[in-house]
Amino acid sequence: MGAANRVQGGIFTLMVVKIGDPYDPDLERELAEQVALSPGFFADAPVVLDLKDSLGCTSVADYTALRQLLRRHGMIPVGVQNASALQLRAAKSVDLSAFSGAAGGARRPIERAPAAPERAADRPAAERSSESRTRLVTQPVRSGTQIYAKGGDLVVVAPVSAGAELIADGHIHVYGALRGRAIAGAAGDITARIFAHRFEAELVSVAGRYIVSDAIPPEHRSQPAQVALIDDRLCILPGWGNGRGAAEG
C-alpha cells in the first residue's frame, strides 16, 4: 500500500440524534422506543449528535453520560454537529469530531438513516464514481442461484424463480416475474427500492427490513409493484409511482 493509497475518501450515511437536554428522561424513553422498532438497525451504529437545540453538552461529564445512554441502546457517538464553541471544545476533549451541520437535513422531523455503515466503509468512494456499477442479468435466474450486485444496482430482464436470491447494495429491477427473494440496500442504503414487473416474491428486504410472501397483501401478487422503505416501514406500492402517497398515509 503506497502512501497515496493509505488515506482515502469514503462517503457514509450516519444517523443523527437530536439532543436537547442531555439529562432529559424523555430522551432515553424515545431512543428505547425507536430502537425497539428495529433492533438490528441500531446495533453498533455510529451516530452524530445534533446539538442545535441543546444548551447542555458543555462538559466532559455531559458527554460521558450521553455516551453511556446511547451505548445502552447500541449506538456509538462519533461526532457532533451544530455545536457551539463551548460544546465543541468539550466534545473534542472526549474524542468526538465536528461534523458540519447539514443544511436543513437535521431539521426534518424524522431523521432517517442507515443500517450497517461498517459495510459501507468497505466501499471506497472512488469505486462508485467512475463507471456504472449496475449489474445486468439477461438469463432466467434459477432456483438455488444467488446473484449479488456489489456496490450498485441489479437489473434482471428475465424471470427470477422461486428459490433464487437477488442481492444488491442499490436498487433491484426485475423486468419479468420476481418469484424468489430480493434483498436491496444490502449495505444499508435505506433509499434502495425493489421494482418488479410481476411481483410474486418469496421475500423482499430493504436495508435489513424484510417481508415474507405470507405478509404481502394479495392484491400485489402478479402485479407490477415496488418495495420501498417509507418512514422506516417496508411498503409495497402498486406500479411505478413515487411512493409519496403512501408516505403520507
Binding site: Q139, P140, V141, R142, S143, G144, T145, A158, P159, S161, A162, G163, A164, A177, R179, E200, E202, V212, S213, D214, R221, S222
Partner: protein, 282 residues
C-alpha cells in the same frame, strides 16, 4: 467395438435426461427416447448413471444379460464392447447398464470422460439417464451434455427441482465450464392429466412453461401403460396403443426437428397461478 470405421466422424450428441426430483419418469423417458431415436435409424446408446439403483436394464428388458457394467469400464476391468448390451428388438440401440453394488462415488471424473469420448466416436446419440438429486451422480450425468431433457411433473415441487437443475446445467456443465454454446434445454411434461388440471389439482402446461421458461418438447399423459411397459421391460414407445407411447413418439420427432402439434392437453379454461403462489409461499 461395434461398427468400426463405417463413418469417418459421427456428429454425436450427448443428451441428459434429468429432473432433480425422483420418480418423475426419467428412466421411462430415457428408455423411450433411446428406442425412438434408434427406431428412426440413429445409432443410440442409453447409459444408466444411477449407480447402486440399477433400473434402466429392467425397463429395457435386458436385466438378465448384464455381465459387465459402466463402473467396470470406468475402472478398466472391462472394455466398452463387453459391457454394451445390444437390444434384441431394435437395431442401432445399445444399453449401458450400471452397477447395483457400487455407489455414485465410483463415477470417477476422468473415467467417465474417457468412456464418453469413446462413445462419441461410435454413437450418434448418447442418452444419460440421470439419478435424482443434485449430488455427484446427477452432476456427472449432466456434465457432458450437449442437450438436456428436463422431465417435470405438473406439480410445484417437481417444477422447482427442475428449475434448480436447469440452473445447474447453465453453471456446472462442461459447456458452461468451457464457455461454449449453452446446453440445449427441452422441457418434457410427464404424468400429465388434463382432467386433474381442470380440477385445479395439477399445474397446467402454461403454468409450468411460465415458471420454467424452457421450450416444451412434449406432454406425456398419465397412463397405466407406462407402468405396464416398465414391468414388462418394453419401452412404452413401442406400444402404439398407448397414449403415452404416442406422445413419446411425438416428442422424439420434435427433438429431431419435426413439427408436430401438441396432443393430450385439453384447452385449459382457468389459470391457477394464484393458487400455486399461495401454496408455494406457505
Amino acid at each position: 467395438m461395434v461398427h468400426k470405421g463405417k463413418k469417418e466422424k459421427i456428429l454425436s450428441k450427448v443428451i441428459v435426461v434429468t429432473s432433480g426430483k425422483g420418480g418423475v419418469g426419467k428412466t421411462t423417458t430415457s428408455a423411450a427416447f433411446a428406442a425412438g431415436l434408434a427406431l428412426r435409424g440413429h445409432k443410440t446408446v442409453v447409459i444408466d448413471f444411477d449407480v447402486g439403483l440399477r433400473n434402466l436394464d429392467l425397463v429395457m428388458g435386458c436385466e438378465r444379460r448384464v455381465v459387465f457394467d459402466f463402473i467396470n469400464v470406468i475402472n478398466g476391468d472391462a472394455n466398452l464392447s463387453q459391457a454394451l448390451i445390444r437390444d434384441k428388438r431394435i437395431e442401432n440401440l445399445y444399453i449401458f447398464p450400471t452397477s447395483q453394488t457400487r455407489d455414485k462415488d465410483a463415477l470417477k471424473r476422468e473415467g467417465v470422460e474417457k468412456v464418453m469420448d469413446q462413445l462419441r466416436k461410435d454413437f450418434e446419440f448418447i442418452i444419460c439417464d440421470s439419478p435424482a438429486g443434485i449430488e455427484h451422480g446427477a452432476m456427472t450425468a449432466l456434465y457432458h451434455a450437449d442437450s438436456a431433457i428436463i422431465v417435470t411433473n405438473p406439480e410445484v415441487s417437481s417444477v422447482r427441482d427442475s428449475d434448480r437443475i436447469i440452473g445447474i446445467l447453465a453453471a456446472k456443465s462442461r459447456r458452461a465450464e468451457k464457455r461454449e454454446k449453452p446446453v440445449e434445454e427441452h422441457l418434457l411434461l410427464t404424468r400429465y392429466s388434463p382432467e386433474r388440471v381442470r380440477r385445479g389439482e395439477m399445474l397446467s402446461v402454461d403454468d409450468v412453461k411460465d415458471i420454467l421458461s424452457v421450450p416444451l418438447l412434449g406432454i406425456i399423459p398419465e397412463s397405466e401403460t407406462v407402468l405396464k411397459a416398465s414391468n414388462t421391460g418394453v419401452p412404452v414407445i413401442l406400444d402404439p396403443q398407448s397414449p403415452a407411447g404416442r406422445a413419446y413418439d411425438d416428442a422424439v420427432a420434435r427433438f429431431l426437428g419435426e413439427q408436430r402439434e401438441m396432443r393430450f392437453m385439453l384447452p385449459e379454461r382457468k389459470r391457477l397461478f394464484g393458487g400455486l403462489f399461495g401454496r408455494a409461499a406457505s
